[in-house]
């Protein structure tokens, strides 16, 4: 099957093509492949083209941040949320709270579950927002730090308080004024998140886990401890354990926390750092203990009785996922009305009863409604935090862009780059 192809056919692709047209089999020979790729590399090496590709500074978007508001004409709102983060009926297709909203206001909600990971979602919407274009979404739900980054970059629209009376009145004090969005000018929480320690009773095999120190130091747990790839959750819980406040720590504190974790990585105490997939490690017992999100654990407990969680004496980390309106969204008013709707105690209770995360609506207002649906949920401190829970809750302070880059780089090194 060897082919001696004359060298005169200079453009490599043409040569390969002609061979394939004339003699079938030898459609792709190594020589033509090599020549073609070398040619491609040369073209790519047209360095002049490279200079034209700079990325403009964020925030300097052309033509302002808001688009014309089409809310009155187009009775619709595009809502992008995380997967399994809303109530759903038995058929698995309809969302009762959203349908009730549509019935009352006539606004159709296009609900899309297209957020799986803050970092990935940021990479997805960044090009459009940086170019000052509509992302096709009116509400997006982002965790504190990313919401803060969008606000910092000038990619989120300022909310109109007159459209948000319930939200303003009913927002729980705990969430009222984060340092990255004082007074909630740009965002309102969708749900609150508690970061706690989860464990698998069977896998613990008698060992006790009462703190992050136990996870890092108990030799019985060697190779069966998990931490999260979310830098703030892992570092925040470690800082708390070291007696530092994640709301006001210094560079040195951060480095100390990294060093503490690095020691456990080196001694193979920590099995691995995970994203959402920690749930399977935990239920199978490959993790005896790990840092986890309480909402997940409440749901996991239902299926695997061995799984439970605990809150260390040193405290736990609270954050929230926040609704924002990205620049150039077409239906700003509709989006604000939908945000406000979820701050009415009725819909808020329905949502909380279904998804088991911390409700952002003030306890006294939402509890009677939640009790009517599910008494045990109303008494669950993970859904409506009580006094002692609230006292142990800490938030991770917002970071400047420079800090964020430096911290993430150090954290990346810890997790193996």
């Amino acid at each position: 099957m060897e082919q001696n192809e004359p060298e005169r056919l200079s453009p490599a692709q043409l040569a390969a093509m002609r061979r394939s047209l004339t003699s079938g089999r030898a459609a792709l020979t190594r020589r033509s492949l090599l020549r073609a790729s070398a040619g491609g590399a040369l073209v790519a090496g047209g360095l002049g083209a490279l200079t034209g590709c700079g990325i403009p500074a964020a925030g300097k978007t052309q033509g302002g941040v808001s688009a014309e508001d089409h809310s009155a004409k187009e009775k619709t709102v595009n809502f992008s949320n995380w997967t399994e983060y809303i109530d759903i009926d038995d058929s698995g297709k309809r969302h009762p709270t959203l349908e009730a909203f549509t019935k009352r206001t006539g606004i159709t909600v296009k609900y899309t579950e297209d957020i799986n990971d803050n970092n990935e979602f940021f990479a997805k919407i960044k090009p459009q927002l940086a170019a000052g274009q509509d992302t096709g979404r009116d509400i997006i739900v982002l965790t504190d730090w990313l919401a803060g980054r969008l606000i910092r970059l000038g990619w989120a629209q300022k909310l109109d308080p007159s459209n948000l009376p319930h939200a303003f009145a009913n927002l729980s004090d705990q969430f009222r004024s984060p340092d990255w969005d004082p007074g909630r000018a740009y965002s309102y929480p969708w749900q609150g998140i508690s970061t706690v320690i989860a464990y698998n009773k069977k896998a613990l095999d008698g060992a006790e886990v009462k703190s992050v120190s136990d996870m890092l130091d108990n030799p019985k747990l060697k190779g069966r401890v998990g931490f999260l790839t979310e830098m703030r959750d892992t570092i925040g819980m470690t800082l708390l354990d070291m007696g530092k406040d994640p709301a006001k720590f210094t560079d040195d504190d951060y480095d100390a926390a990294i060093a503490r974790l690095q020691k456990a990585v080196d001694s193979q105490q920590i099995r691995r750092f995970t994203g959402n997939d920690y749930t399977s490690d935990l239920t199978k017992g490959d993790f005896a203990a790990c840092i986890a999100w309480a909402g997940d654990v409440v749901q996991l407990k239902a299926d695997s009785p061995d799984v439970d969680f605990m809150i260390p004496d040193s405290g736990y980390l609270t954050s929230s996922d926040n609704m924002l309106i990205p620049n150039k969204a077409r239906h700003k008013t509709n989006a604000e009305r939908l945000m406000d709707y979820y701050y009415e105690p009725g819909p808020a209770a329905e949502l909380a009863a279904y998804i088991n995360y911390v409700t952002p609506v003030e306890a006294t207002k939402v509890r009677p409604y939640l009790a009517k649906i599910d008494q045990s949920a109303a008494d669950n401190p993970l859904i409506i935090p009580d006094q002692s829970m609230a006292a142990k809750s800490r938030a991770f302070r917002s970071l400047s862009q420079k800090e964020e880059t430096a911290y993430e780089a150090k954290f990346a090194k810890l997790t193996g780059a």
Partner: protein, 309 residues
């Protein structure tokens, strides 16, 4: 690379003298090339140029990025992440060898011995592709979980003692060790090895085997002198189709590995998505591409085969 998968036209006897067609007919090949060229231009070349540019930029998200011809990024990236590069080559190379060892007998069986079961077995080889890559990899977490039967059996048979001694596992577990990552890579890329092997084995004329037997060659000699050399195109394209994607893979290391099994794909992902160091991520991608290109070139040179299918 779409040419690889397209069914080639029937083999025509090679004409002794090819005259290029004249007139309008001359342009036909170019027209036929146009969609492919456009595709490559938009979806391969443009992103490449864009990434090449990113790799020599400096700046930050807030201040924007400018091309400053900062080539030091390449050097810094290599100096910082050479262990991950080495690991990628090592893991992908091991997985490729394992794929070849597992895949060759199977492809041989399908090509020469499967008879009327041939299509069924071929479909079985491809069947895992009907589910998502991610699901298949997650399934390995269940199979290899610490309390599972596989790890239990390996423990009882003291296989884990051997692998611990070799340093490819740690403690009484397989998950979150190099062994798990290499197993995952081998499993996920095995069909890419089997299919090209099968195509080139299937093309071998069985009469050559008979002829070898008539000339008093033992079956092992027949294999060494006839079958294997004729299947070289399949071996080469199979190893390439396995090694190239495996060395850039990050899913297996992410799900089945630990901090000390991170491959260069993981580093690129982390730098791009988490640290937001786009220049380093782009530079790493180019170094990986260059490394693969060089290794593949040397390999094809040495393997001494012209055809890739």
């Amino acid at each position: 690379m779409s040419t690889l998968t397209e069914a080639p036209p029937p083999l025509a006897p090679p004409a002794p003298e090819q005259k290029p067609p004249r007139g309008r007919g001359r342009l036909v090949p170019y027209w036929l090339l146009l969609p492919g060229i456009l595709w490559l231009l938009v979806f391969f070349l443009m992103p490449m140029v864009y990434q090449a540019s990113t790799s020599v930029q400096t700046g930050s998200l807030e201040e924007g990025y400018k091309v400053t011809w900062h080539f030091a990024t390449y050097w810094d990236a290599l100096a910082e992440y050479w262990p991950q590069f080495l690991r990628s080559v090592l893991y992908a190379g091991t997985a490729t060898v394992l794929c070849l060892l597992l895949g060759y007998p199977l492809a041989y069986l399908i090509a020469f011995r499967a008879g009327r079961w041939r299509n069924v077995v071929l479909i079985l080889v491809i069947a895992p592709f009907f589910t998502s890559f991610l699901i298949r990899t997650l399934a390995w977490k269940t199979i290899l979980s610490d309390g599972g039967p596989v790890v239990g059996a390996l423990n009882t048979l003291h296989v884990l003692d051997v692998t611990n001694w070799l340093g490819i596992t740690a403690g009484d577990r397989v998950l979150a060790t190099p062994l798990a990552v290499v197993c995952g890579l081998t499993y996920n890329f095995l069909p890419f090895m089997i299919l090209p092997l099968y195509t080139s084995l299937e093309r071998i004329d069985p009469r050559l085997h008979e002829a070898a037997g008539d000339l008093y060659a033992r079956p092992s000699t027949t294999f060494r002198k006839v079958t294997f050399p004729l299947s070289m195109p399949g071996v080469v394209s199979g190893t390439l189709l396995t090694f190239i994607p495996a060395s850039g893979d990050y899913v297996n290391a992410e799900l089945l590995g630990s901090t000390d099994t991170r491959m260069v794909g993981n580093v690129i992902q982390t730098q791009f998505l988490r640290v937001l160091d786009y220049p380093t991520a782009a530079a790493l991608s180019f170094i990986l591409m260059a490394a693969i290109l060089i290794m593949v070139t040397l390999y094809i040179r040495r393997s001494g085969t012209e055809d890739l299918v």
